[in-house]
Assembly symmetry: C2
Homo-oligomer: 219 residues x 2
């Protein structure tokens, strides 16, 4: 096992993922020593059962990938994921509200997820850097700090309209949150070892990728 | 106003859409005589208020775009959209369950949405053709028929992993559902008049697009 494996959330968010695919993902995560698997809500139970007895955590995405649903729905979805055994919640902010400058709404949305996860799960806040200005990225990170989240995360990685995470994004986010003890998860378009290493050098403590095996087995 | 306008769901599903963007979408829908606007759950209220007194309907997406959340969450989200005044619900099926052959789950997921919408809203069932075999497309359409939906819809149009709708998809879906009275909505990658016309010739009764103005103003 390479040291970088412990940075990786081994990720499968395809609409078409089956229980068989999730079981395979979990077997790979154990084999390669990844930190966690990252799956859709409907797959949490399968992943938790598959990983039973291992060190690998289960991260579930909520409000994913648009973040454009009601806070009440994000909270209810998060509660269901926790009930199914999720150890981490990767939630998407209300990007539109951020762009409108409705910061109270963005913060409350995050806070409510943090509240239901308290003592139960790590909360990662996906800000979707590919759609934001640098100023908006900083604002989103500050709101995640104020709301008491554990991580800020760059990207969903699945939307046509957005762009991959950059090392500049990770550096900016890390600079914004580090003094408050929050960590950065880099995700979206991280397909090889050199990109993963660059993200870690820029300040990422976690890497979300569906290319984990390629990354840890590269020569 | 061109005749094709009445086929169009004028669509804005970007994560970053603001209330201002939604108001503009609604003004355009009235101006050009589109059938409906199609928006994210968090934007339904804004759209309903903006369209108050017009003929234009409001369609909301739920379980969007992966369809990989709990049925209970899709139902709760749908109820909130209905409470905010949505006239149509475009829900995404559990694609993974379809691929596993867990057809009872796929059907129940649709049925529960149909039940909460009964007498209140039209239900469109997004099957995400870009991820399915022809056999799976037919199966998904039959389940939508059995569940009592009003429309089958080709695609979410937003996911990197998927592909645009094709006229072959629309034709196949239309052939599968027409004798049961269901209609077909073509969506995903419909960017010009000739593509929209081809979809209608293939059997589409509705077109989901963010290029509606371009389509109805093309010479």
């Amino acid at each position: 096992m390479t040291a970088i494996a412990k940075y990786i959330d081994h990720t499968l968010l395809s609409s078409g993922a089956t229980a068989q695919d999730v079981n395979k993902l979990c077997e790979e995560a154990v084999k390669y020593g990844f930190y966690a698997v990252c799956v859709q809500p409907i797959q949490v139970k399968t992943a938790v059962e598959s990983l039973n007895g291992s060190q690998v955590k289960v991260a579930a995405v909520t409000g994913f990938p648009h973040g454009a649903t009601y806070t009440e729905i994000k909270v209810a979805e998060t509660k269901k994921c926790l009930a199914d055994g999720a150890n981490e919640i990767d939630m998407v902010i209300n990007v539109g509200a951020l762009k409108e400058g409705n910061l109270a709404l963005v913060k409350d949305d995050i806070s409510q997820i943090v509240n239901v996860c308290k003592g139960k799960a790590t909360v990662k806040v996906i800000i979707e850097t590919g759609l934001l200005t640098d100023e908006q990225k900083i604002t989103a990170c500050k709101l995640a700090v104020e709301a008491g989240a554990d991580f800020v995360k760059t990207s969903t990685g699945v939307l046509k309209e957005s762009k991959s995470a950059t090392t500049e994004d990770v550096r900016l986010m890390h600079e914004t949150v580090k003094s408050f003890g929050l960590l950065v998860k880099a995700s979206g378009g991280i397909g090889d070892l050199s990109t993963a290493q660059a993200m870690i050098e820029a300040g990422a403590s976690r890497i979300g990728t569906s290319s984990g095996i390629k990354i840890v087995t590269e020569k």
